[in-house]
Amino acid sequence: MSAPYTGQEMMAIATGREVQDGELAIFGVGLSMLAGFFAQAHHAPNVRAMTEGGVYGATPVGGLPWGIECNRISANATSFTSALDALGCLVASGRCDVGVIGAAQVDKFGNVNTTAIWDGDGVIGDRYRLPKTRLNGAGGANDIACGAGRFIIMAAHEAKRFVDKVSYISSPGYLTGGDARSRYGFTGGGPSAIITTLGILRPDPDSKEFRLDGWFPFSSIEEIRANTGWNLKVAPDARAVPEPTPEELAALRRVDETGALRRK
């Protein structure tokens, strides 16, 4: 890749483009937070950003925060409340417009697994059994997936991660597709996009199966299909995702002041 930007930077910018000005938005740590603050620095100056612990009005200082309550994000907050407030009153209530979550595994209906990986066929089975690899659990992502108006999933595009059916639903996407979500009392609408290291998937409006919507300039339909564990359909209007503009890159790099995204 000879582009004047890294794949991580493309992914952060593509995610940030999903966030609109004035929206109430919740970001996790790491790439997700950089994507959110990039949006704020570039095209969404009035985005109302929050973290799930109830830290409001803050922008990170001194580099990428180590965590949602890191001193790097607590240093210039205007308000500290609580998890009940942030995840309950603002997210599960349906007030939050958009959230960004990560995924260790994601399936064709946008269901997310961040809990564990099992041996063998990867399926847990009807009896709960010990996982081969324990991951981080749902955290606030389940709450965002249930409550936020829409949410965006970020994931590394590899066939083992993009599976037909996740082995454990930590955070619900469209479940079995169609209107399956409507059986539950969710206040949120479901995942609007999966931003990957290679491109962007979006759900078919009816079946809710995720289709290829765009490929990053350094990728292709073929590469993406080869790295997807289900038979990925391509949306009729799929196209190459525009590469970062100089303004976007400059804004992102102001936010990513220690260059965390440029190292990869």
Partner: protein, 322 residues
């Protein structure tokens, strides 16, 4: 003014904890406020078979799990944020030594709220429809599980939503920034779910980085979200959350966060960590020595230290407290 409810850390652990108990920490996200030092003392006194209730995993749960002191745990997030997977907890789960019941970060708070309000169940518009509802490590044969998270029908609309089990832990050991000797406390930084926990638990012990005169509380009563009337005992222990952070008082110790998590990835590493960082001090002075006096000084000069400024003049000196 001291002692009031002030007691030594070792005494608090001796008096209020027992093997097999439901032990809750105020653990916030893994880089934030949590009385990790209380967990160290639990290990020093050999407590075991704990049923840990942690809003999120922290280095405390990671350590207790690695050392084999936890039989069951419930939490919403089990990692260490940007520091990666929690190796000690992970090892205990994968080996089957520890049953980890999964919830989400909101549902843990809601369960504490339900315990605080004396409700038999708590409505939830989250967790339903996922394997958090359908699977239970505590009831592995039940699938789809409904004894962990049930459903309830709204009597007004007929709509079905989730119903969570309230939490009423036997003990909560809650980290706070400041406490007075009576048990009034100030938290700097997000409360996370410490407010709800302080009302849900049967007993509350607070562990404060600094002790202030009660006059501080009378000046800032709106900051006193956990007041004396729900607090059983107060422990003074500086850098109680180390290597995690305490906004206003000290920053996260990045090097030790990594060292600790790396050590907890193996049995041998854990034994070494216990020897060097759990069994190795006799008092607060010795504890600050193992952190390193230079590190203590450097972490105290963090970007949030201005948050402590309004309260500094009320901080009681060590000679009054020991």
């Amino acid at each position: 003014m001291p002692p009031g409810k002030l007691i030594p850390l070792s005494e608090a652990v001796r008096r209020y904890t027992r093997d097999g108990m439901e032990y809750a920490s105020g653990a916030a996200l893994p880089v934030g406020s949590d009385a990790i030092v209380f967990g160290r003392e639990l290990l020093r006194q050999g407590r075991k078979d704990l049923h840990a209730i942690f809003h999120c995993n922290s280095q405390q749960l990671n350590l207790l799990a690695a050392a084999g002191a936890v039989a069951k745990a419930e939490c919403g997030f089990s990692g260490l944020e940007v520091f990666g997977f929690a190796n000690g907890l992970r090892r205990a789960v994968e080996s089957g030594r520890l049953e980890l019941e999964d919830y989400s970060n909101l549902s843990m708070t809601l369960r504490l709220l339900g315990g605080a309000l004396g409700w038999p169940f708590v409505p939830a518009t989250v967790n339903v429809g996922s394997d958090i509802q359908d699977r239970s490590a505590f009831a592995p044969d039940e699938y789809p599980c409904r004894s962990k998270i049930a459903t309830v029908t709204d009597p007004f609309s007929g709509r079905e939503i989730g119903a969570l089990r309230p939490l009423i832990p036997e003990l909560a050991a809650i980290h706070v920034s400041l406490a007075d000797p009576l048990g009034n406390t100030i938290m700097l930084g997000t409360e996370w779910s410490r407010f709800e926990l302080s009302r849900a638990a049967k007993r509350v012990v607070v562990i404060a980085d600094a002790i202030v005169d009660t006059a501080c509380m009378r000046q800032y009563p709106n900051l006193v979200r956990i007041p004396d009337l729900v607090v059983e005992a107060v422990v003074w222990w500086p850098f109680a959350a180390w290597p995690q952070s305490s906004p206003g008082l000290y920053d996260v110790d990045e090097a030790h966060m990594k060292l600790m998590n790396q050590a907890l990835a193996t049995e041998a590493g854990t034994a070494g960590y216990l020897r060097d960082f759990v069994e190795s001090y006799d008092d607060i002075g010795g504890y600050l020595d193992i952190i390193g006096r230079d590190t203590v000084a450097a972490l105290s000069r963090g970007p949030t230290s201005f948050l402590l400024d309004p309260y500094r003049s009320w901080i009681l000196p060590p000679e009054v407290l020991q």
